[in-house]
């Protein structure tokens, strides 16, 4: 088998080298070639991993959760193979495995750690036969590509197998996947002080997966995540074994919580903001618990986690860029740019909620693209609660391929049109937004969709403000 595979690996590697020479990122092209030569390559290469593989899927937070797990595993001394660049379809996973293969059937790593796109999870799991799959949440996301949430939930329920599942008890769609899986390990938040007054406008999973009656929510933490039960059939949120309590949210900077696991409890301070990152950390901790990794490594790994690529990343804009145009503050001082990826209503709402925790009026650069990876349909911006920023915006610059539609959204959210500018060209938008600064030291907040985030980073790399993470 390995003999038959070797020439294909060599060919795919050559493609990877060519792709890099041409300046491409090479995060999925080599894998695509490899899978074209051998459709079972992921299974064949995955079988070389001594400790098997674990998979992470969700609509929101895959990349960050997986990055947190990488940190935990590093501290636990487990060498991993990881699709760290976020290329999470079969080709991206094949590329990561290919990059780790060595001569004579060896592989540089013991455990495979892969984030997997929702629609690729069944196909990838068949190949890798994973030890553990972490399923963290299902929020409304790119309906034009993924279809309905129920369809994904059905697919996961019927076609995805693993030795063990780690499931979010607070998401009814996810928790129900443990119905016939008694070995499932659940995680959840238990903190009454976080409960929201009501459900988000477009919350999903309002009806019992088993009998169709409406769920009764005793507490809602985020989107449709919370504590719930069904009066009709008696189904209720499973009791989680891994819990976050006493959550403290510190604006766009940090969050902390008390982590409870069967092995004990500890206080965890994250250098990442928002309840959504507490959920990411909790999922990572639960998966690590399922792998029997010690609490000390889990805590150390979580605390070392930094923003994944474009998610709550902070970049210092050089004075040259920050001072073009008519600035009102000290134009020579560098200015922070905080990049907060937004890609669907649930994620955007958490970012907006986190931003609203910061005092004062904000300068915001919203970049709305409608490329395939963003979702061609931009209607989701009307499900995101930009109302949270009403009265809290000093300037709102709209950019991207659908910039004017974002401008209308924020206008109807209650932001003064005099504070809204539309600059579809990202370069122009960034310059003008950065130069328009208040008298006090204040960051510029960029809220880009996925491809917009890539373009923004590319622009910053070209200007020397951030180093390339493709290297």
């Amino acid at each position: 088998m390995a003999g038959a595979l070797a020439p294909k690996l060599a060919l795919a590697r050559a493609v990877a080298a060519l792709s890099r020479l041409r300046g491409g990122g090479g995060t999925s092209a080599p894998g695509k070639v490899l899978l074209g030569l051998d459709g079972d390559a992921i299974g064949a290469l995955g079988a070389r991993l001594r400790r098997g593989s674990v998979l992470v899927s969700a609509t929101n937070g895959k990349t960050t959760t997986t990055a947190m797990l990488a940190g935990i595993l590093e501290r636990a001394g487990v060498p991993i193979v990881h699709n760290a660049a976020g290329a999470n379809m079969a080709s991206g996973i094949a590329t990561a495995l290919l990059a780790a293969t060595r001569r004579r059937g060896a592989i540089a790593g013991e455990l495979g750690l892969f984030e997997v796109d929702e629609l690729w999870l069944d196909a990838v799991a068949v190949q890798l036969r994973p030890r553990v799959i972490l399923l963290a949440n299902l929020f409304r996301d790119q309906l034009d590509r993924y279809g309905e949430l129920e369809t994904i939930a059905e697919r996961w329920a019927n076609d995805v197998e693993a030795e063990r599942f780690v499931l979010n008890a607070d998401d009814p769609l996810i928790a129900d996947l443990g119905r016939d899986r008694p070995e499932a390990l659940y995680f959840g938040v238990e903190d009454d002080s976080l409960a929201l007054p009501g459900m988000a406008h477009a919350a999903d999973a309002k009806h019992c997966r088993r009998c169709g009656a409406p769920y009764v929510f005793e507490a809602i933490y985020l989107g449709h995540l919370g504590h719930y039960h069904c009066d009709s059939c008696g189904q209720r949120r499973p009791q989680p074994a891994v819990i976050a309590s006493d959550v403290t949210l510190e604006g766009v900077r940090a969050a902390s919580f008390t982590l409870h696991t069967p092995a004990g409890q500890a206080r965890v301070s994250l250098a990442l903001p928002g309840l959504y990152n507490v959920y990411n950390a909790l999922g990572a901790a639960a998966l690590a618990t399922a792998l029997e990794i010690g609490l000390a490594s889990i805590v150390a790994g979580l605390q070392s986690a930094r923003a994944a690529f474009g998610r709550a990343e902070t970049v210092t804009l050089l004075p040259a860029q920050a001072s073009n145009g008519a600035g009102n503050g000290d134009a020579r001082a560098p200015r922070e740019l905080r990049i907060l990826l937004v890609k669907n209503p649930a994620g955007a709402n958490e970012v907006l909620r986190t931003l609203a925790l910061e005092p004062g009026e904000h300068d915001v650069l919203g970049v709305l693209n409608d490329k395939i990876a963003d979702g061609r349909d931009v209607s989701w911006i009307w499900d995101a609660d930009f109302e949270l920023l009403a009265g809290r915006v000093r300037s709102f610059t709209c950019s991207g391929t659908r910039a004017p539609e974002l401008a209308v959204r924020v206008k109807y959210a209650g932001i003064d049109p005099a504070r809204i500018r539309v600059r579809p060209d990202l370069r122009v938008a960034l310059d003008e937004a950065a130069a328009d600064r208040p008298d006090r030291v204040a960051p510029l907040y960029a809220l880009p969709t996925y491809t917009a985030m890539l373009s923004l980073r590319e622009l910053l790399v070209a200007r020397g403000e951030v180093s390339s993470s493709w290297s």
Partner: protein, 257 residues
């Protein structure tokens, strides 16, 4: 409001009923309601929003405009049953007295005569003489632009454009009693073949255009407001629509127009 018309209209209130807003909201239908609300309030017109959910009766005379959005299959089925049981007679009587009824995507399908999913046929309200059948081969997805002639008086004048996004598995066929809402300029429309999009019968309108529809077509929001208040659209005070006009152009451009 300094505008004379605005002053008269200031005493008016647009009474909107959102049908199943917690279930039929999949394509950010909330945006359509928000457009209507803000554009009324900016003109000093009152705005009154009522939600009508599963099992709740509907008062035919209490609303000027009824809105029904799209939902996931399971939710849409629940709502279809409920519409027939507890709301269909009221909706008919409201439509008969020329209240505006707007159905978008799944809401459009439910306003028709029937919706066939494989073996199963769901009966609709029948306000529009259309029938929809799900075809499994391919969903019709993408940006779309249509040309509409809304005012009976200017039948031969140049039409106006509605732009939006469509995403539907159902193919809708017009019966003899239905006129299309518009002609497809770009995109698929009702069935991807006929060149027709949506349906209209008096003030009852169904369309597959979401995105949402009204933020991309502010002029159409005003047309609906005027119809629902039984006034001419020229009686509505003008608003500063520079951003809205740009958004409309952006949506048309996305559709390739």
């Amino acid at each position: 409001m300094s505008d004379a018309n605005g002053a008269t209209l200031g005493a008016r209130t647009l009474r909107v009923c959102a049908l199943y807003p917690d279930l039929m909201n999949i394509y950010a239908d909330r945006g359509n309601l928000l457009m209507l609300e803000r554009r009324c309030r900016w003109r000093g017109i009152g705005f009154d929003l009522t939600a009508s959910g599963l099992g709740e009766a509907l008062d035919a005379d209490a609303h000027d405009l009824f809105y029904l959005g799209g939902g996931q299959d399971r939710d849409q089925r629940l709502c279809a049953e409920d519409l027939l049981e507890s709301k269909s007679a009221s909706l008919r009587s409201a439509a008969a007295r020329e209240a505006v009824v707007l159905g978008v995507c799944g809401g459009y399908q439910l306003l028709g005569r029937s919706y066939t999913l494989g073996e199963q046929t769901i009966e609709g309200v029948g306000l529009l003489d259309v029938r929809t059948a799900r075809e499994d081969d391919r969903r019709l997805i993408g940006n779309v632009a249509i040309e509409v002639h809304l005012d009976d008086a200017d039948g031969d004048s140049a039409g106006r454009v509605l732009a939006g996004f469509e995403n539907h598995g159902g193919r809708t066929t017009l019966g003899e009693g239905a006129a299309p809402l518009g002609r497809v300029l770009r995109g698929h429309g009702n069935d991807g073949r006929s060149g027709c999009e949506g349906a209209r019968s008096g003030n009852t309108i169904g369309t597959y255009l979401h995105g949402p529809l009204l933020p991309k077509n502010a002029w159409f929001a005003d047309w609906l407001i005027a119809r629902a208040l039984a006034i001419d659209v020229s009686q509505l005070a003008p608003l500063d629509d520079r951003l809205e006009d740009e958004a409309h152009l952006s949506a048309r451009h996305a559709a390739g127009l």
